[in-house]
Structures are given as structure tokens and as C-alpha cells.
Amino acid sequence: MLDQVTVFLENDKGRLLALTQTLADAGVNMQALTIAETADYGLVRIVCDKPAAAVDALRAADFRAITAKVLAVEVPNRPGGLAELLRTFQELDLNIEYGYCFSSAEGTAIDVLKVRDPELASAALAKAGYTVL
């Protein structure tokens, strides 16, 4: 399980820049960033090296930031890698709230997934042979 940083941002010019600059100034290095957007606001989800420090820095700069427990699962970086993982989810009857993927240098891809009960899912996936970060 991983601590993902989630930030509530208004759809306004310059907000994402201000957010990333705040993290840069706090010496936080990001591995992944995605944005879920609605008409009025966006949720920015970040995987980084220092989630607690990131949240502290963001809150000090008046951002609304929280951490959320997500699953980060290593899959082989080849066609069908994600599909196999999702089949496992289906077999385990696990629902996914949202997800995104990024590739690491070592030839593996990392799939980040939000599920209702991350502990349970984590244990089940480990049992099915996956490396859960």
C-alpha cells in the first residue's frame, strides 16, 4: 500500500503551477501525477517520495491536501500486463474506484488502484503472486 497525496484544486489558471512549485520548494520528487477534473474543480493525485512532507508543505501554503491509501501493484511492462491484473481483481470480486499506471525504469509498470478495502486487496493480490508496493 502506498500513501498517495490528493489535492483539491479549483479549475483556475496557475493553480497546478503553484501546487507543483510548492512541492518543488519542499524537495518532493514525484513519480506520477494525474488529474480528475470536473467543471468546477479537479482532484490532483500524486505518487511521490515524501507524501507526509508533501501534505505538510501543501497545507502550509493553504492547499487542501490529504493522503489516501492506494494499492501500487507491479506488473510486467508488456501487452496484457494490466488486463491480467484486472482479471485477478474480477476473480477476487474487487471493485476499483479509480486507477492509473506508470512505468518504472526496470521494465515493470506500476498500476495504482484505489479500492474500498486496500488491506484485504493487498493480501489477496500478494497471494495471487503479485508484488504489491
Binding site: 479549483e10 493553504d62 492547499f63 487542501r64 484505489k114
Partner: protein, 435 residues
């Protein structure tokens, strides 16, 4: 025993005798010295020399803000200019300003009235009174200042703004009494906390005397929790004097009117009929002994009621309830009357959001659209869009039930609703730009 103890505990029939004597003089002074009142009384056949009881005053016509505006700048003065020591003016955001004049006597009673709030809190010579209402034409700053001085406090004329300096002075001088708007008190507290201070330890505040805008009980308890003091609501308006017309005592159960200086009636704003104690309506004030700018039956537009019965503190001056809004800041949304206080009441049932809000009125296809902007609290788990949408829907649902009209709720980033240094801007009306 505090300075004005005998006055604030005097039997009510004695107070009424003082009121009747004062009002007799006031209506005659108005009639003889203010052409506006001469004409007004003559037009409706009100004889100022025939007032024999307080009930007779109900025969007098009302005075409105528009009347005061029409007589700008000095035509409402009942004394020659040489007897006037000071003037104040209302902000005039909605048109021409109204002017209040003060003789030496008027200034003294003003100080005494505001000082009562300090004395209700057992304040006096050992206290440091920190005034960050704006000094100037606005009555807040100097009214609180005169009160602080009259009560014997070391009084600091900070005026508004420069929040970091306010905080530094508050710490260094050991301020014990804070006079400002409730929204500015919250802003001070939040700024101090953001600076790494603990206001409960680093400040020495005992009492806050906050007014000039309505605030909810929830807002009050949040302030008290953050600053570790007790908040007393103060009421006043330029047209009758300024802050100090009524102030809460430590019971925090209604604001004691300064009845030796102000005679209050509650009327039905539609019919003008005087309502019995306990009923909500518009507050109407007649000054008892104001010299420079006396007013007869001034319609304040503020909605309150006289709280029946005597206060647990033992003081005899009757209490008005905390304001329930104004007859003129009432929002009419698609034909439905909505008070901001009703919106606040709904908001405080949601722990996920803070008590800051702003109402934005826009018009789309000739229909009013009301958007309530609220800020999430730090512990609200918003990781999924669904959680935010659900919260917005829940607030909307509860508002719909409470107000009988649909509002759109929008969660916005913290601190994106402007923190005012004066009155909080609760309603932004953009309906002029119809699209």
C-alpha cells in the same frame, strides 16, 4: 461594584420614568429644531406636547434611513453646529451617507454605553482594550475606543488592517479585551495560528466584544475555542449612536439595551403595528437623551425581538435577541425570502465544511441562480470525486428542505473566499450581468 451598577440594576418602572421624561424632551426638541420633524409631525397630526405616557409615542410617525439621507448633510441636527463636537457617517454603500452628530454629552453617553459591555465582563482598570474596528467615520473604532477609555482600560487604537502587527501588539501589550467584527476576530485567530502561535497561550484575551455583522452561535463557539475567551455580541448603528445601543452580558442570552438612553419598540415591518415582547419584528428606536441628532421611532431594518423576562445576571434593562437578519438583507430567491442566518444554520450541521461562506447570485435565462460557496475542513476525506459530489448534494438537499428553494453548492479551495478586514462580504450579487 462596577461604575454603572446602579443604572443597570434600577427597577424597571424607574427606568420607564427616565425614558418618558427624556422622550417628552426629545419629541419637542425635534419638533422645534428640526424642520423635517416639524413637517412630519404636523402632517400626521402628532402633537409632541401631548405625550403623557410611553404608549403615546406609538402615535408618532416613523423615521427611515431615507429621511436621514434626504436631510444630508446637517438638516437633522437639533442643536447649533457650535455645540457639535464630532460627526460620524454610515458607509453609504447604498447611496448618500447618513450623518450622526454628537455633542459633548452625546460622546459621554456613547462611551458609557459601550463601557457597559466591558463592565458586564468585570473589566476595568486592569484591562487592555484592543480596538481593531476601523477608526474614522465608521462608528465602530471610536465607539469602542470611548468605551475602553470610559471603563478605565488601557486602550489601544489599532484600527483595522495590518494583521501581523495586530498580533504582535496583542502579544506584547497583553491585550485582554478585543473589539472588532467577528469575522476579523476569526481572521486574526487563523493568522496567529498560521504564524505558529497558540492564541490561547500567547494572547491574554478574556473577552471579545464583536458586532457590526451577524454571526451564528457556531461561529461564536469556534472563535471562543480558538482564542480562549468569551464573545459578547454588541449592537448599534450610526443613526442612533454607534456600537453600545445593546450589549450582551456574560450570560450570553440576549443583548441588554441601554434603556436609559434608547427606547425600543418591535414592530411588524408590514403594518407598522407594535408587537408584544417575545415576538420577532423590526427594531424601532427612539433616542431618550441624544442632543445633536435625536431620532424618533427610527426604523432600523434589523429583525429581533424583546426577550421576555429578566436576565439571570440580575440587570433590569430589557434584552433584544441576537439579530435574525435585516428586512433589507433578506434575499429574495425566485420569490422566496431567505435569510443568510438560515443558510448558516444548515451549514453548521456539516462537520466537513468550515463556517466561511459566500453566496453568489447570478442570473441565467432570466432565472436567479444562487451558488453557495463553502470551504472544506482539513479532515474531510475528499479523495474521490464521488465524496465531494455527495457532500454537495447532501448540503443542497438540506438547504432545499430548510429554505424551500434550490441552491447550488460549490466546494471551493480553502482561503479562496476573501477574508475581509471589515464587514464580511456574505453576498455577491452578479445579477446585473444577465446572460
Amino acid at each position: 461594584m462596577t461604575r454603572q451598577q446602579d443604572i443597570v440594576t434600577m427597577p424597571h418602572d424607574q427606568l420607564e420614568a427616565i425614558q418618558l421624561e427624556g422622550i417628552k424632551k426629545t419629541v419637542i426638541a425635534c419638533y422645534e429644531n428640526v424642520p423635517f420633524y416639524h413637517e412630519l409631525f404636523s402632517n400626521v397630526g402628532f402633537d409632541p406636547y401631548a405625550v403623557e405616557s410611553l404608549d403615546d409615542l406609538a402615535k408618532a410617525p416613523f423615521t427611515t434611513k431615507q429621511d436621514l439621507r434626504d436631510n444630508y448633510p446637517l438638516k437633522m441636527f437639533a442643536v447649533p453646529k457650535k455645540d457639535v463636537r464630532e460627526i460620524h457617517m454610515s458607509s453609504g454603500t447604498t447611496g448618500i451617507a447618513t450623518v450622526g452628530g454628537y455633542t459633548e454629552h452625546d460622546l459621554k453617553i456613547w462611551g458609557d454605553c459601550f463601557a457597559r459591555g466591558i463592565e458586564y465582563a468585570d473589566g476595568g482598570e486592569d484591562d487592555v482594550c484592543h480596538v481593531c474596528y476601523g477608526y474614522g467615520l465608521f462608528t465602530g473604532g471610536l465607539g469602542a475606543h470611548y468605551g475602553g477609555v470610559a471603563a478605565g482600560c488601557m486602550t489601544i487604537p489599532m484600527s483595522a488592517g495590518n494583521t501581523e502587527r495586530q498580533i504582535r501588539v496583542m502579544r506584547d501589550m497583553g491585550s485582554t479585551i478585543l473589539c472588532c467584527t467577528p469575522s476579523y476576530a476569526m481572521y486574526l485567530a487563523d493568522t496567529a495560528i498560521a504564524m505558529g502561535l497558540d492564541p490561547k497561550k500567547d494572547f491574554h484575551l478574556r473577552v471579545g466584544i464583536h458586532g457590526a455583522e451577524a454571526f451564528s452561535d457556531n461561529f461564536r463557539s469556534e472563535l471562543e475555542k480558538k482564542l480562549g475567551y468569551k464573545v459578547l455580541d454588541v449592537y448599534g448603528l450610526t443613526e442612533t449612536m454607534g456600537p453600545g445601543v445593546a450589549i450582551e452580558c456574560m450570560e450570553q442570552n440576549g443583548l441588554h439595551l441601554a434603556e436609559d438612553h434608547f427606547y425600543a419598540e418591535i414592530i411588524d415591518p408590514e403594518t407598522g403595528e407594535v408587537l408584544p415582547d417575545g415576538e420577532w419584528g423590526e427594531l424601532v428606536i427612539t433616542t431618550v437623551d441624544r442632543e445633536a441628532t435625536p431620532v424618533v421611532r427610527y426604523r432600523t431594518r434589523d429583525i429581533t425581538r424583546i426577550i421576555p423576562g429578566q436576565c439571570a445576571c440580575g440587570r433590569t434593562h430589557r434584552r433584544i435577541d441576537r439579530l435574525h437578519g435585516r428586512t433589507d438583507d433578506m434575499l429574495i430567491i425566485r420569490g422566496v425570502n431567505v435569510f443568510p442566518s438560515q443558510i448558516e444554520d444548515v451549514m453548521k450541521t456539516f462537520p466537513q465544511i468550515s463556517s466561511w461562506y459566500q453566496i453568489e447570485l447570478t442570473r441565467k435565462n432570466h432565472l436567479d441562480v444562487v451558488t453557495l460557496k463553502v470551504e472544506p475542513n482539513p479532515d474531510f476525506d475528499f479523495d474521490e470525486v464521488r465524496a465531494i459530489e455527495q457532500l454537495q448534494r447532501d448540503i443542497q438537499g438540506r438547504l432545499k428542505t430548510a429554505l424551500s428553494v434550490g441552491l447550488r453548492v460549490r466546494i471551493v479551495e480553502p482561503k479562496s473566499i476573501p477574508r475581509s478586514e471589515g464587514k464580511a462580504v456574505r453576498v455577491v450579487d452578479l445579477r446585473g450581468d444577465d446572460q
